[in-house]
Symmetry: C2
Subunit: 271 residues, 2 copies
C-alpha cells in the first residue's frame, strides 16, 4: 500500500487571553484555536470543517473515508494543507475524480452532512458483527489513568472533545478537537493511513455515546467503546446491533456498562 | 402576525435500561431517546435532524429560520409532526415554495450544513452591533441557581446539552437536546414563534462557546451569553466583533468573563 505524500501542518492549539473572574480580578487563561479548513479533492470543493488544526492531514483522510469518498488509500497521491488559504488540497491518482453525483445525492437527502452520513452508515451497520473481546477491569482503570495524563488541551483550555485509540492500556493516538466528529474522523484517518485494524482495540471518547459515535466506531472494527459521558437510547441500540461493548460514565474508578457486560472481567474489585 | 397551525408532538425524553456498574452489580438507569426527524417543506426533503424530540415544532421553525429558508412567520401555514414516519411536514402559504437553488448552493460550499451556515452567518454578523446591557453578578448567580433546577434530562440521563433563555433571572424557556445546535435552534424557533426580541435577554448554554454558538446568539439579538463550558478563540473573536458579553465556565459562584467585563456589575462580592 502506498502512502500519500503529505504535509505535516499540525498547529499548536491554544492562545493566551485575559479574562475577568467572579472577584473582578483579571486572569490569564488559554483558549483553543478554531480554524476553518476547506477540503478540495482534485480542485472540487467538498466541505469546510471547523477544527483546532492539530491533525489536519489525518482529519482530512478520515473525513473522506468516513463519508465514503474513497475505499483505498492507493487512490490518493497527495494531501497538502495550506493554513494561509485555510484549505487542504487532496490529489487523486487520476487527478480527475468527479464527485458531482455524491454531492448532489447528499443534497437531496439532507442539508447537514451528519444526517447523510447517518443514513449511509446505518446501511453499512447491518453487515457489521464485531468479534467479542474480553477486557479486564484493571485494564480499563489503567487506560483511564493514561487518558487523564493525555487530556492536555482540555485541561489547559477546555472547549474540546478528546478521543483516543488504545491497545489494552497502551495509547496509540490521542486527538482533541472542537467537535467530537473531527476527533473521531482523525483517528479513523490515522488507522487508515497506518493500516491499523480495530481488532483488540479500545476506543475512548470524552463525548456522548450517540448513534453516530457508536456507528463510526463499529465501522472502524473496534468492539470496545468507553466514554466519560452518557449514552443515548439509539447509541445503545446500535451497540447491541453491531456487538459493541458499550461502557458509559467512565471516570476514576467508576463506569457503567450498557452492553456486553459479559465481556468485562471484574478483576479489580475492592474488598 | 399569524402563527402557523402546529401539532404539539413533543415526546417524553428518557427510557429506563439496566446497566452493570464497576462492582458488577446491575442498576437501573435512564437514557435519553434519540429520534430521526426529517423536515419536508411543501413536500421537498430538506434535512434529517437527530433529536430527543421534546420540542419538534419549534426546532423545525428555528432550524429553517437559522438556515435562512424564511424571513417571516407569515410565510408558513402548517407545521405538522408525525413520529410514525419520523417526519415533519411544513406547508407554506403558497404551498409551492422551491428551494432547489438554496439546496444546490449549499452542496457546493459544503457537505455539512454546519459549514454552510457558518459562511452565511459570518456575512450577517458584519452588520450586527448589539446594544450593551449591564448585568448584575447577583442576577447571574440567581440565574445559575435556576438553571440547576431545570437541568432535568441532564440530571436524569446525561448525554444532552441544555440551552435556556432568561430575562434577568426569570426563565423563558429551557430546551435540552442531544446536540447543542438543536437546542439553540429550538430556542430561536420559540422566539420567532412568539415574537420575542433579544433585548435584555440572557442566553445560557451548557455547551462550549464556539464561533457558531456566538454567531447564532448574536443573530438572535441577545447580548449576554453564559456557558458552563469554555470558549474557543474564534468564539471570543465573534463576541468582540458583534458586542456579545461572553461569560465562560459559569458554575455555582464561579465564572470567567472573556468579553464585555465592563457590563458586569460586581454586586455580590464576598467579604
Amino acid at each position: 500500500m502506498n502512502k500519500p505524500e503529505m504535509t505535516d501542518a499540525g498547529l499548536s492549539v491554544s492562545t493566551t487571553v485575559v479574562g475577568v473572574d467572579e472577584t473582578g480580578a483579571t486572569r490569564e487563561l488559554q483558549l483553543v484555536g478554531e480554524r476553518a479548513l476547506t477540503i478540495y479533492v482534485d480542485k472540487q470543493e467538498i466541505v469546510t470543517l471547523m477544527t483546532i488544526g492539530s491533525h489536519p492531514e489525518i482529519l482530512t483522510l478520515g473525513y473522506l473515508k468516513n463519508q465514503g469518498f474513497f475505499e483505498s488509500l492507493d487512490e490518493i497521491s497527495v494531501v497538502q494543507v495550506d493554513w494561509q488559504t485555510e484549505s487542504v488540497a487532496v490529489v487523486t491518482q487520476t487527478e480527475s475524480s468527479d464527485f458531482t453525483e455524491q454531492m448532489s445525492r447528499r443534497t437531496v437527502t439532507t442539508g447537514c452532512g451528519q444526517g447523510t452520513v447517518f443514513g449511509r452508515l446505518m446501511d453499512k451497520l447491518q453487515n457489521i458483527h464485531l468479534p467479542q473481546n474480553t477486557i479486564l477491569q484493571s485494564t480499563l482503570y489503567a487506560l483511564l489513568d493514561s487518558v487523564k495524563a493525555h487530556n492536555e488541551v482540555y485541561k489547559k483550555a477546555g472547549a474540546v472533545h478528546g478521543c483516543a485509540l488504545y491497545t489494552g492500556d497502551e495509547l496509540e493516538i490521542f486527538v482533541e478537537d472542537v467537535g467530537r466528529h473531527n476527533a473521531v474522523d482523525a483517528i479513523a484517518g490515522y488507522m487508515w493511513l497506518n493500516d491499523i485494524s480495530g481488532d483488540n482495540k479500545v476506543f475512548y471518547t470524552t463525548g456522548r455515546l450517540t448513534s453516530e459515535m457508536v456507528i463510526k466506531v463499529a465501522q472502524m472494527g473496534i468492539s470496545t467503546l468507553l466514554s466519560r459521558s452518557g449514552a443515548t437510547q439509539m447509541g445503545l441500540d446500535m451497540a447491541k446491533m453491531s456487538g459493541v461493548t458499550l461502557i458509559s460514565r467512565s471516570r476514576g474508578k467508576h463506569f457503567m456498562v450498557l452492553n456486553g457486560a459479559e465481556n468485562i472481567e471484574f478483576d479489580a474489585q475492592e474488598v
